[in-house]
């Protein structure tokens, strides 16, 4: 990152808006995907803008994300359209998006990634409660650290609040009120920032300290959660207790940005047990709880995505039974990722671990 620019205006959101609308108005991109309020709700939803005038409601720094927008981003970048697209995403969304690129679910061709420094998101109802109370939650959230304690449990353990791999990064930590730091993360970003005509700036000195403090806090909490969770699921029986209320609604998989299957295997014939099977199972075990294969579902999903889990916490957020799914998944994921020395979203060129094996060669003879 070599260029800094600062925008000052009435609010942080306005500052961001000013920059992002210019992307379209100056024809630097054809469309922008960014979280925006709708006339019907304060809850910002990923919204695709092709017209600068329509961008009034954008609120990317709002501490809310009803879902991990990587899947929406992947939907608009499923294949190259010949048009240039800017995607404004949180770090966990970018990481998930990179995993989806590896899984051939989307392409970064002609895509400008704009990452936001994310101080966390609140559960939807928490955010809406604040919104009802005070209007511009975003502004309040960024300056009021006590509000920051209302973010989700998973966000509290997130150490990756600064986006990597973005062309442009927007940050607020350590910044003066109503100001946003724009940094370029690539030549593309550099060029765009120049076009936007932002004023050159310097990193405020306290930014480093604040960042470091936050990081330490998050790391400590993460450690705590991992230890606690690991203990809570260290036997299959304890695990069953945790998931005893699971409804097999598959919301968690629906909310998971890296659970990319068009249709979950648990909805296919592989798991839709035949009546004969269920009957036999009941005969042998005395009883079968229905829907069946609840543990199997969670463990299988772990086996599928543990390497790719970006720790966004959406699974927990959507669970109707309040099962701490994200605690379980992030705890296991950390162990699996360590075994493979794999970090999801680290590098778009890095193949997923199962596609890399010793003697990578197709003919029979070792070289």
């Amino acid at each position: 990152m070599s260029v800094y620019a600062m925008v000052k205006d009435t609010s942080v959101t306005e500052a961001v808006k000013a920059a992002l609308t210019k992307l379209i108005s100056q024809d630097l991109v054809d469309a922008v995907l960014v979280a925006a309020k709708s006339p019907y709700s304060a809850l910002p939803m990923p919204t695709l803008f092709a017209n600068a005038e329509a961008m009034d409601g954008i609120d990317p720094l709002a501490p809310a994300a009803p879902f991990n927008a990587a899947r929406q981003a992947a939907t608009v970048s499923r294949q190259a359209t010949g048009k240039r697209l800017a995607l404004v995403l949180r770090p966990c969304e970018i990481r998930a998006l990179i995993e989806l690129v590896k899984l051939n679910q989307c392409t970064l061709e002609n895509v400008v990634l704009i990452g936001i420094e994310c101080l966390g998101r609140m559960e939807n109802e928490v955010f809406l409660r604040h919104a009802a109370a005070q209007g511009d939650v975003t502004a309040e959230f960024l300056k009021n650290t006590s509000l920051q304690d209302d973010i989700t449990r998973t966000c509290k353990m997130c150490e990756q609040f600064e986006p990597a791999h973005a062309d442009i990064v927007m940050s607020t930590l350590g910044m003066a009120e109503n100001s946003v730091l724009f940094a370029s993360g690539s030549e593309t970003g550099e060029a765009l920032l120049k076009e936007l005509g932002l004023s050159p700036a310097e990193k405020p000195a306290e930014r480093e300290t604040v960042t470091k403090q936050l990081l330490e806090k998050r790391a400590a909490f993460k450690k705590e959660v991992f230890a606690e969770t690991s203990e809570k699921i260290n036997s299959i029986e304890k695990f069953e207790e945790m998931i005893g209320t699971c409804l097999n609604c598959y919301n968690c998989r629906q909310a998971c940005p890296v659970c990319y299957c068009k249709e979950c295997v648990f909805l296919t014939d592989v798991f839709s047990a035949r009546p004969e099977t269920l009957l036999r199972r009941a005969q042998k075990r005395g009883s079968v709880k229905l829907p069946t294969d609840t543990s199997m579902f969670h463990l299988t999903r772990l086996s599928h995505i543990a390497h790719a889990c970006v720790g966004c916490g959406q699974c927990s957020s959507v669970c109707p039974s309040n099962i701490p799914v994200a605690d379980i998944f992030t705890t296991v994921a950390a162990q699996v990722q360590a075994r493979y020395d794999y970090v999801p979203g680290r590098d778009v060129q890095e193949p997923i671990p199962y596609l890399m094996f010793e003697e990578k060669q197709k003919s029979g003879e070792p070289k």
Partner: protein
């Protein structure tokens, strides 16, 4: 419902490759190299065919151990399916371990076609290992 060690007869699922380990198993049979019978052998065309689901299914259904036998690296009929499985295996170990299944309940070994004695030895040894560990924690509990 913990059974006493002496009458603990482990339930073992062995997923073995059609080409090498299955041949070794047959060879052990025809060479009268006996090994404990409480092994449920399921023939796979290749260890590379083994889906993680099979391992999870086996453990959740009460297997005390899961043995996987494949061709030696380089000998795979499908060039490198065995190595692909080996890669998957690492993640599986981490997962089952976290849920309280001793990692050693899942074992991968390369057993070549001519290695009847190795097959026998591996089976005997694995059963012994499992016997020493006792029944799987999934035994006797209700798995949802």
């Amino acid at each position: 419902m913990v059974k006493s060690m002496s009458d603990f007869q482990p339930k073992i699922i062995a997923l073995v490759c059609n080409w090498c380990t299955y041949t070794a198993a047959d060879l052990a049979g025809t060479s009268r190299l006996s090994y404990p019978a409480n092994i449920r052998m399921i023939r796979m065309m290749c260890t590379g065919m083994i889906d993680p689901k099979y391992i999870l299914k086996a453990f959740l259904d009460g297997a005390d151990g899961v043995f996987i036998g494949g061709c030696h690296p380089g000998d795979c009929h499908y060039i490198n399916g065995n190595l692909k499985f080996k890669k998957r295996m690492a993640g599986m170990e981490a997962i089952i371990k976290q849920f309280g299944f001793d990692e050693n309940r899942l074992r991968l070994r390369w057993i070549g076609a001519s290695e009847g004695p190795e097959f026998q030895h591996n089976m005997t040894d694995f059963i012994q290992t499992i016997q020493d560990m006792g029944p799987s924690p999934a035994q006797g509990i209700m798995v949802l």
